[in-house]
């Protein structure tokens, strides 16, 4: 097992900059999720690590070994694809054996290793079939087996579960995590499903337009997004953003429409330093209390008023879309209340959970002062 380090890696396809000046380190045995929207450069980044593409500039290290110019076969990585990419003309056994056959491993050893990994993934009974005769979930296990059989230094997974149905996805992903931890393999897992990333990863790297936005523990990425993109990408539904003015008096508070929002001490200090006149207030749908009656509002708390736009019952809770002035936000409310379109509501925001962003750079204020 190795650590993987990317230093200022850029990959251009003609004019398209698919990966832009990426610095990233994945520790030995770490499970890193690479999360980003479609076309953000996730696959390209994986292929760079696998050696399929050469970086336009920058360097890639496995531990301290510079692998930037090594072809794929000298890197010993395992790669699993969304569409499995099994060789259709080979039986499952030969598919899994292929990387070993290429390496000219003795026949007996190939057999032993293939059976071993097949047992691990519980596909021993499928070895004699062709990929076309397997279900999607089975094919994916075969693909993972083929990636693992060569005992790779790094395991790269490119949206491996997105062709599976929701139930199977959840069971395979926990299996995958167990497998990765048991084998202690360094793994990079590409997905654009943020729930999957949160569930699986030791750390999450978020990428957008080829630029790494944030690399952190899942809870940090969720609770303290570095910028509006990360906040707006992670969470389902993602973070809400509302523009707010700042009022500096004996204390510092935000003005949203006619309402005031009180800030925690941390943000008061930051704002006094930065002296911003406008900020973007971010809060997650579950971090507000939806009140129908102004009299329910706790004195001294921050409340923003709005009007219900849509109501979506979700079972455990109700998802409300609320208009605050011209801005739409989504909030969760308990299903015990009855809500209907056009109702006036009061959103009481948990001050500990609110986030502030600089409207110009979209960076979270606490990260602005740190740097």
């Amino acid at each position: 097992m190795v650590s993987v380090r990317l230093e200022k890696v850029t990959k251009k396809f003609g004019k398209v900059v698919a990966v832009n000046n990426v610095d990233l380190e994945i520790e030995e045995g770490e499970f890193m999720a690479l999360l980003g929207p479609s076309g953000s450069g996730k696959s390209t980044l994986l292929y760079l690590i696998a050696g399929i593409y050469k970086p336009t500039s920058g360097k890639i290290f496995f531990d301290d070994r510079d692998v930037t110019n090594l072809p794929p076969r000298e890197r010993n990585v395992g790669l699993v694809f969304q569409n499995y990419a099994l060789y259709p003309h080979m039986k499952v056994f030969d598919n899994i054996a292929f990387p070993l056959k290429i390496k000219k491993v003795p026949k007996e050893e190939i057999r032993r290793k293939v059976f071993e990994v097949a047992k691990l993934l519980r596909i021993e009974h499928l070895l004699d079939r062709y990929p076309g005769q397997l279900s999607g979930g089975q094919q994916q296990r075969v693909a993972i087996a083929r990636a693992l059989v060569k005992e790779p230094q790094v395991l790269l997974l490119d949206e491996p579960l997105s062709n599976l149905d929701a139930l199977l996805r959840v069971s395979v992903r926990s299996e995958l995590k167990r497998l990765q931890k048991n084998l202690g393999i360094t793994a990079i897992y590409v997905t654009h499903d943020q729930a999957e990333a949160m569930a699986l990863a030791d750390r999450i790297a978020i990428i957008n337009e080829g630029v790494i936005q944030q690399v952190d523990l899942p809870e940090v990425v969720y609770n303290r997004p570095k910028n509006m993109f990360v906040g707006g990408f992670i969470g389902n539904p993602p973070m809400n953003f509302v523009e707010a003015g700042v009022e500096y008096n004996e204390t510092v508070k935000l003005i949203v429409g006619e309402d005031s929002v009180w800030l925690p001490q941390e943000y008061i200090e930051i704002l006094r330093k930065l002296k911003l006149q406008k900020v973007v207030l971010g809060f997650r749908p579950e971090d507000v209390l939806v009140l129908k009656d102004e009299r329910q509002v706790e004195p001294g708390s921050s409340v923003i008023r709005g009007e219900i736009f849509t109501v979506e019952p979700m079972g455990r809770e109700v998802l409300l879309t609320v208009m605050i002035g011209e801005t739409m936000v989504k909030v969760y409310a308990p299903p015990t209340q009855y809500y209907s379109m056009g109702d006036k509501v009061f959103l009481q925001i948990n001050p500990a959970k609110l986030r502030l962003f600089d409207p110009d750079t979209t960076i979270a204020l606490e990260y602005l002062v740190k740097t």
Partner: protein, 317 residues
Amino acid sequence: MKKNIFSTNKVQLLIFLLPAFLIVLLFYIIPIIITVYVSFTPMRNWNIDKYFNVIVGLQNYNRLFSLITRDPVARQVVMNTVVFVAITLAINVLGGLGLALANFFIDERVSTGFRTLWLLPRMTPIAVYGLLWYYFFHGSSIGMLNSIAMSLGLIKKPIAWGQEVIPWGPWSIIIIVNGFVGVSFGMVIFYSALKSIPRELIIAARVDGASNWKLTTNILIPLLRWHLLFVTTWQLLSLLTTYAHTFLLVEWGVVSRTYGQTWALYVFNTAFGRGEQDQGLAAAAAVILVIFGAILGWITVRALGFNKMITKPKGDI
């Protein structure tokens, strides 16, 4: 209700199949019937009034048989055909495969030009293309091959390659000329098949450690299996029946008539050639060629498992 749907299906089927059926009938079945019929008549010099209604039974076939067994020219035709078809087929299929693979591994921009170059022999009118080779293999010192060989000091006097170097001179020429026309067919089919292999499959093989060679032998060629079968059968049948290029080379004297004449050309020359035209005999030879083609085609289809290529419909609709 069920019956109704069934009958609409039949009407639809008819509408879809009719044009193809008419074409097959008009250009294939009727000519075959006429040819078979003519092979039983003593038709010669296109004297339809005189011979069309005379049936002579298997006489033409007997003549053909005794020609092949006794006449060295006719026997040479058989030999020419076997050598020509076998070697040109190998060149067409393997050359096409090689070119497609070369195209696959080189840069897309370069390969487009490269492929067009190889399509030129097919796009060029037969006479123009033939003329090119006429000058290339010409027996005097204006022949390009001769002038190159002489300027390199390999030969002292010009050589009439297709007339003097027997039998490989004329054989090589007809094989080369037809080979160049044929490779582009395999190349185009194989190249488009290679391009349609999912990119991930190739990336997977690379990550699994495959070199270009291993990728080719272990992944690409097995995946081209059906295309290989198709091109082989198709080219086999078209080589058996092709004669246009060879006809010109023989007429222009680039290639010896004895050693350049294949069965298909023999049929043509017998029916339409100079001197006495013997359509009865030509028709018999044509019928034998068709039967041979059918048998060979059937054998390749069987031997190579072509029937599996006609895949079962996916699903039950």
